[in-house]
Structure formats: C-alpha cells, structure tokens
C-alpha cells in the first residue's frame, strides 16, 4: 500500500495553481491539454506498460467519446452531464467489439492491428455525414453547473484535473488488488497465470476496456473544452503520440503517464513557440527537433523518465506484514474419497512426428510422494503439461478423483486442487514475492475489478495476502517477502514458486525440478517440507534430476525414457533395475 500523502499534496498544488497571481492564462490551457493527454496515457500505462498490450488505436476511443457527446448534445440537445455516461459506455462497448477481434492477437499483430483499425476509424470519422465529415461538429454546449458555465480554460481546468486524479487513484487501486495482480502477470506470458486460474483473455479485455473508457473520458472533456470536434486529433498520428507519451513517461507507472503528458505537451509547445525565433523561416522544424529529441530521450532513458526520477528517491521497502490471523476457506477433503488421486492412462502426446509421451500410465495415491525421473528429453515436463491442461493429449486419458479431465483448460485443473511449479521459473520479476505468491490464491478470492477500484475488496484482499504470507513463511522465505521476485537467486525463486502453488490449497502438488539450483542445506529443508506436506494429507508428484534427493524422498518412482515408461517402483527397486541403469549410464558395448 503506497502512501496517499504525495497524491494529496499533488492535488492541492494542482488546485492552487489557477490562484497563483499573474499565472498566464496560456499556461492553464497547457495544463488542460496535459490533463487530457494524461488520461489517455494512463489507460495506455495499464494496457501497454503493465498488461503488455500495445495499442496505437487509443485516439479512436478519444474520438468515440468526443463524437458521442458532440452528436448527443448538439443534434439531440442532451445535457453534457447526461452524455458523460453515454460517452463512456460507447467507448467501452466499442472496446469490447474491437477487443474481441484484437485482444487475442499475440505479440506484434496486436500493435499493428490497432494501428490498422485506428486508421480505418479515423477515415470513417471524416467521411460520415452525421459526424459532419471533415468539418466535424461545432457549437457544442459547455459544461455547466447551475448557471455557471465552464466556458474558459480556467473553469474546465478543475473538471479535467479532478478526472485525472480520480482516474489515477482508481487505476492504482485496481493494480494493487487481486485483479491487478492478474493483469500484471499478463506481460510475462499466460501459462503461469492460467495455471492459477486467471482467465487471461478476460483480464486482457478488462484492461482494454479500462483504457478505452479513460480515453473516452478524455474525449468527452476535450469536446466540451474545445466546444467543437473534427477528425484530425483522432487520427493515427495522435494514436502514436499517446503511446509515446506513455513510453517517455515510463510505461509501467500510472504517474509516468501524467509526467509523460506534461513533458511531451510542454516540449511541443516550447518547440513551436521558440524554435521559429532561433531558426526562422523554415516550416516544420519543430517536428524535426521533436523527433530527434524523442530518439535521444529513449537512448538516455529507455525505461522512461518517471522510473529514472524515482531512482533518485530513497528506496523504501514499503511492506508491513499481512495479518496472518486471517484465514481463507479451506478445500473440503472428504475422508471417503478414493485413494487414487491422479490416474494417467495411456497418455500420448505427439508433436508432428515426434512422440514426446508414448502411452504412459501411472497413478498418484493420496498422501504419497511420487517422483518422475528420466534422462533429458524423456517427456517429463510434457507429462506435467498434459496433466495440468497446458497441452492436451493426442490420445489416452487423465482423470482426477475418477473424473476425466482430458480436455480441461489449466484454469479448470487448478480448481480441482492440482497446482504446479515450472521448470523455467515463471514469476513476475517486478512484483514482490508476496504479490507473486498471492497470485496462487487467485481462485480463493472473489473481488472483481469494480470493487477493487473502489477499495471495497480490502477484507477479501487481506485474507489473500495473509494466506500468501503464511505460505511464504512455511517455505522459509519470510525475510524476503517484500523483495522483488527478480532480485532473488534462482533457487529461491523456485521456492517462491512452491509457495505460490501451495496458496492454491492443493491436493496434489506438481513440482518441476524444485531442487535445481538449491544448496545442500536448502535441499534438505525442501525435503523436510515436502514430507510435512505429505503427512498433512497432500500428494506430491515431482520431476527431479538430483538422484540423492529423489531416492531419499519419494515413496514411489516412475522412470521415463524417450517418452516411454520403462520402470516403476520403490526407490530400492529402481536403483537396481537394469533398464534404468541402461537408460542413465548406457551399457558397455
């Protein structure tokens, strides 16, 4: 939880600015423009910087907001305050439509796709009769409260900055919540998030709508500030400009959006008004200098200006320990349930001609530690992916407690009480250990985005964080709780993954090489922990290369080689099994 104090001071300063004697009215106009751009940039921070979805199309949403109120308040004479919800709803709905098409696009299709519809919509604005074609719509009524009309830039100033500060607060609240963690996990790929029940397409759609609504708000304010709209400010150039406002400011930070807006708007203004004095005559010198300065700025601070500024402030580890007395509901484990927890039957996975897993069958009983071993490329991780729904089997079946789960997506598997860690650590490096682990408890919380924004989620949130803190202490990383996950050693990151998996309150824990990168003592602690878990009623299936670790820990071992099961049994029988020795050591010719 960040302190609210700096925001309050900022709000007071902004409120006081118009009263500064001798403040040139022109500066107020600039501040208005900064506020408008900051709203859009803030949406982009969430969308692009945090969620990893690059959009060039935000200007089009500003256009939707502006045109909605322009049409409704001129042609239908509606009050601007009534058109506000309409503007937001129109932007939001169109975001849903466009989002359905674009959000699923991966990687670089997404920015290009948004660029394409951004352009298309711009041309549509300039061709449609009822939007006034290229001339746009003029004589839009001003905002008014009673008989007070916000005609001057100084009077609408407050409306704009109240919108900016409120939006910033709501956005920051959203980021610091259950939904926010799901959004922040998006940028690091979707497999890890989905393994803990996050519905990634839904989370992407959510940020897309959030950004669009903020842009629509900016458009609504813009229409009533200018009292006229035309297509020019909603074109592709503007869309690109919003994006670089966010990037220059620092795409991962809400206040970076505001700072970026201030930098870019002021820079453009300064260039436009002073450059002709230095280099008279020639036309677009300011564009040239602006372009060059943009590239120079990126070369000096590729992460944006805000994080660069923040690095000068003293670092605080701003963590108070969550109150671990709060408890989440536990999974009900019926005592009469069948003892076979997981049944893998003739599971097969083919990638083209390669058979990665070849008709493998085994099971995991309740309260049992089973190890899956085999040389590299034996199909162990693929088997894990089949069980957890990341991949679906080409044939064969997998059942949990007697129910077939062959085609179930990862989000369904984790609901059944199967959680996992990854061979290649999949944590969000710029989130704290606590936040990373709390993703594991995602399905055990219930607050949605709206209640998160309004801070109605605190009771739910406190329980989630308490559970996360408990599991972190259980795995022995209590001291690192508030460190960034990326700052931990690889071995510790693996342990963090185990804590995250434990947050699911699982019946079966799948560990992919948990001991890799651990020191001897740490391995012993891990083994102790896993035995405790088993004795507490949990089952563990693990892939591991450290034979000493496996032989001392596992109740039963399944050996794979080239995708085929070659042996199964207790550690003692596996050690002497000739097939296993052949697979690991080869045979003398």
């Amino acid at each position: 939880m960040q302190s609210r104090l700096p925001i309050l001071i900022f709000a007071l300063i902004m409120a006081a600015i118009p009263f500064v004697p001798g403040m040139p009215p022109f500066w107020i106009v600039l501040l208005d423009n900064i506020g408008l751009a900051a709203l859009v940039a803030m949406g982009l921070v969430l969308l692009t910087g945090v969620g990893g979805l690059t959009s060039f199309g935000q200007a089009a949403f500003v256009g939707f907001g502006a045109y909605t109120t322009a049409v409704l308040s001129t042609a239908y004479g509606m009050s601007p305050w009534l058109t506000l919800p309409m503007s937001l709803v129109v932007s939001g709905l169109l975001a849903v439509l466009l989002g359905l098409v674009t959000v699923r696009l991966s990687g670089h299709y997404l920015p290009l796709g948004t660029l394409a519809w951004g352009l298309g919509l711009f041309y549509l604005f300039s061709k449609l009769e009822f939007l006034g074609r290229n001339d746009g719509i003029s004589a839009i009524p001003p905002l008014s409260i009673g008989s007070f009309k916000m005609l001057s830039p100084g009077s609408i100033y407050y409306a704009i900055w109240v919108a900016v500060i409120v939006s910033a607060l709501l956005t920051m609240n959203l980021l610091d919540s259950r939904t926010g963690r799901a959004i922040r996990a998006l940028r690091r790929g979707h497999v890890a998030a989905e393994a803990f029940g996050v519905h990634t397409p839904r989370a992407k759609m959510l940020v897309f709508i959030h950004a669009a609504v903020l842009a629509g708000l900016s458009g609504w304010l813009y229409a009533h500030l200018q009292r006229a709209v035309n297509p020019t400010p909603f074109g592709a150039q503007a869309g690109i400009e919003y994006l670089f406002i966010a990037v220059v400011g620092g795409a991962g930070y809400v206040w970076g959006g505001v700072l970026g807006a201030a930098l870019v708007v002021v820079l453009k203004e300064v260039l436009q008004s002073y450059l002709p004095l230095i280099l008279p005559g020639s036309g677009q010198v300011e564009t040239i200098v602006f372009g060059i300065m943009l590239v120079a700025l990126l070369q000096l601070a590729p992460g944006g200006v805000w994080p660069w500024l923040m690095s000068f402030l003293p670092q605080r580890t701003n963590g108070k320990k969550p109150d671990t007395s709060l408890k989440l509901e536990q999974r009900t484990r019926s005592p009469g349930q069948s003892s076979v927890l997981l049944q893998v039957e003739k599971a097969r996975k083919q990638f083209g001609g390669v058979v990665a897993v070849n008709n493998v069958s085994f099971d995991v009983q309740a309260r049992e530690i089973v190890a899956l071993i085999g040389p590299n490329g034996a199909g162990k991780s693929t088997t894990f992916n089949l069980i957890t729904g990341v991949l679906s089997a080409s044939s064969g079946s997998i059942s949990v407690l007697g129910n077939k789960v062959d085609r179930a997506p990862p989000q369904e598997i984790v609901k059944l009480g199967i959680s996992r860690t990854f061979q290649h650590v999949k944590l969000v490096p710029d989130m704290t250990v606590l936040e990373n682990v709390a993703i594991g408890a995602h399905l055990r919380g219930h607050s949605g985005p709206i209640s998160s924004m309004l801070r109605l989620d605190r009771a739910d949130e406190a329980k989630l964080l308490a559970e996360a803190a408990r599991q972190i202490e259980r795995v022995g990383l209590g001291d690192q709780m508030h460190h960034l996950a990326g700052s931990l050693s690889l071995g510790q990151q693996r342990i963090v993954e185990i804590a995250r998996a434990l947050c699911v309150d699982p019946m079966l824990l799948l560990l992919d090489e948990p001991a890799a990168g651990l020191r001897h003592m740490e391995k012993q602690q891990l083994a102790t922990l896993l035995r405790e878990l088993r004795d507490g009623g949990m089952s563990v299936l693990l892939v591991e290369h450290d034979m000493g670790f496996v032989m001392n820990l596992a109740d039963r071992i399944v050996v794979l080689d080239f995708g085929t099961k070659i042996a199964e049994g207790t550690p003692a029988t596996i050690k002497t099994n000739p097939e296993v020795i052949k697979a690991y050591l080869g045979v003398a010719a």
């Binding site: 692009t48 990893g52 690059t54 098409v101 674009t102 699923r104 696009l105 991966s106 990687g107 670089h108 299709y109 920015p111 290009l112 796709g113 660029l115 394409a116 519809w117 352009l119 298309g120 041309y123 549509l124 061709k127 940028r187 690091r188 790929g189 979707h190 497999v191 592709a236 690109i240 994006l243 670089f244 990037v247 220059v248 795409a251 020639s282 036309g283 677009q284 010198v285 300011e286 564009t287 040239i288 200098v289 602006f290 372009g291 060059i292 300065m293 943009l294 590239v295 990126l298 070369q299 590729p302």
Partner: protein, 346 residues
C-alpha cells in the same frame, strides 16, 4: 461494370500492389532482423522519389546533404562507442564509410544536378543517397537501442519518422512532384495498354522477390540475417555480428523504399508526406503475411492493391477505410487459427 473497366482496375491494382509488396517485404525483413517496426519506410519512398524527381528537374536535392550530416553523426557514434579501444584501422574504416563516401556522393550530386543528368544517373544517385541515409539512421537511432523492447524501438521509429518527414518538407517543399518515366513507350494487348513504366514495376518487383529469395537461401550473409532473426543471442554466440545484420537489413529496406518511390513517382504525384500512407499499406500486406512470410506478404500486397483499386472506383470516399478494415477479418482468422503459444517478452 464492363470487362474493360474491370481489367483496367485489376491492372491498376496489380501495379500498386507490386509496390506494396516490395515495401511489405522490406518491413518484414527489418522487423525480423532488428525487431524495429519501420515506420520511416514511407520516408525512404518519398526521399527516393523526390530526390529522383529533383535531380531529373535539375535541382539539387537536400537529401545528399542529409546523408553527409548523418554520416558525420554516425562517425561520432562510432568513435564514442569505441572510445575505450580506439585504433587507427577502425577510425579509418569509419571515416571512409561515414564521411568520405557521402562526401563523394554529395560532390557528384552537386556536379550532376547542375546539368539535368540522364535518367540512369538520377536513379543511381537517388538510390545511393537514400541507401546511405538508411544505413546511418540505423547506426544513430536504432543500434544504441538494439537491446530494448519492441515498444521502445517502435517509439524511436516514430521519432525518426517525424524528423524525416519534417526534413522532407524542408528539402522538397510542400509542392508535389512528378518524375520522368523510367522506361517510356507502351503497347496494347487487347483492351489493355501496358506502359513501359508498369512493366518496369512488375519486372523490378519480381526481380527483387527472386533476388531476396536467393540472397536468404543461398548466401552466407542471407543465412546470417535469418539466424539473427531467429535468435539474436544464438547468432552472436556463433560469431555473427548482429549490428552488421541490422545494417544490411536497413540498407536493403532503404534501397527497396527508394526504388519503390522512383517507380511510382512517374505514375502519381508524390508529396513530402505521401510516404506514410504508402508505407502503411505495405504494412497491411506485411501483417497479413504475419510479419514472417515473404510469399504470403507479396500475395497479400497484390490483394491490397486490387481492393484499393476497386474500392476507389466504387466507393472512393471509403477507399482508405476499406483498405485498413480489410485487416480485421484477416486478424480474426489469424487469432482463431493461432495456437496458444507461450511468449516471453522483454
């Protein structure tokens, strides 16, 4: 509609489509190798076209001076980057490519511009000038950012686009220009009239596609470029200089851009800011091609050209809307067909 109009539109579409195909190929190439989404590709087109038209009209194009200025900048960057290990050969090489070469070209341009040079000389000079601009731009703007995210590269690319477009206005003014046909003369086949210019466009496009295919398939440099595209770190580990790959990609892209410009400026009037839209249509093709496939990009470009020609006939007001909205169904198909692959960013 009768067959003549249809054939005429088709021909028009294919001619434009061929240009979009070339640009699309260049975009794919640059993106694959350097991860830069090359917005300034459009400026390469206008620079090539307007340099050519200016030279042909006996005017001195400002781009030649820009090349020298950028060259000096690139030299400064080279010196700064190598400041800890400066040695004579390195400095000499940097001086020759970054300063001596553009200086010679500038001298030649000044010499020829005064005497309305023949078409071939105009083409050669424009190509060399724009090629150098592309090369030096990579050194100055993109090479220092090579390690950053696609997003940062993209924004830098926008910055370069803005600067180049502003410079374009400075060099060529707000007036549009047309250039002389590369190949004059024409013949008719049935109802269709083929001009030498359109034949040139087809010929050069095909030659480039075949050339690129041979380059990537058969030459060591081509293979190095492909290796860089697949895995930068891996390429570096086996000794491929990734900066060299980036330079080659930008060189090819700027040459392709300039050549496209030279081929269209006799057909349509180009303005200093026309490049952006032309480049974007190349983009549309490149996206349809998935930013990876050259043949698919070429086919898509033809489709874009033909759709544009037909929509400008039927619904000229909505021409651009239709072309850019063409992407939506393609993207939809792609997202439905795309497997859920894991992607690690940053």
């Amino acid at each position: 509609m009768n067959t003549t109009i249809m054939l005429f539109l088709l021909q028009d579409g294919i001619t434009n489509g061929a240009i979009y195909a070339l640009l699309g190929l260049a975009l794919v190439l640059v993106f694959a190798v350097t991860r830069v989404i090359l917005i300034p590709q459009g400026e390469f087109v206008t620079y090539g076209a307007l340099t050519y038209a200016s030279l042909a009209a006996g005017q001195m194009p400002g781009t030649a001076k820009l090349a020298l200025a950028l060259g000096i900048g690139a030299f400064a960057f080279d010196l700064f980057a190598a400041r800890k290990a400066l040695h004579g050969r390195l400095i000499l090489r940097s001086i020759v490519t970054n300063i001596v070469l553009p200086a010679i070209v500038l001298a030649l341009t000044v010499y020829f511009a005064a005497q309305k040079p023949p078409v071939a000389v105009c083409i050669a000079l424009s190509l060399v000038i724009v090629a150098m601009i592309g090369l030096f731009l990579y050194r100055i703007a993109f090479q220092p950012l090579a390690h950053t995210s696609v997003l940062v590269l993209l924004i830098a690319s926008v910055g370069v686009h803005l600067a180049l477009q502003g410079l374009g206005l400075l060099f060529f003014g707000a007036e549009g220009q047309r250039g002389p046909a590369v190949l004059s003369g024409s013949f008719t086949a049935g109802a269709l009239r083929f001009t030498g210019q359109s034949i040139t466009v087809y010929g050069i496009t095909i030659a480039f596609i075949v050339g690129l295919w041979l380059f990537f398939g058969l030459t060591l440099y081509g293979k190095a470029l492909r290796a860089t595209a697949v895995n930068r770190l891996g390429a570096r580990l086996v000794g491929i200089r990734t900066t060299l790959s980036g330079q080659i990609a930008f060189l090819l892209a700027s040459v392709i851009g300039a050549l496209s410009g030279i081929m269209i400026v006799p057909i349509t009037t180009l303005y200093y800011d026309s490049g952006f839209l032309i480049g974007l249509k190349g983009f549309v093709a490149a996206i349809i091609g998935g930013l990876v496939s050259y043949p698919l990009t070429a086919v898509a470009a033809l489709v874009v050209g033909i759709v544009e020609a037909f929509s400008s006939f039927y619904a000229s007001n909505y021409k651009e809307v239709i072309v850019f909205m063409l992407l939506i169904p393609v993207l939809l198909l792609r997202s439905l067909a795309a497997p859920a692959v894991e992607e690690e960013k940053d």
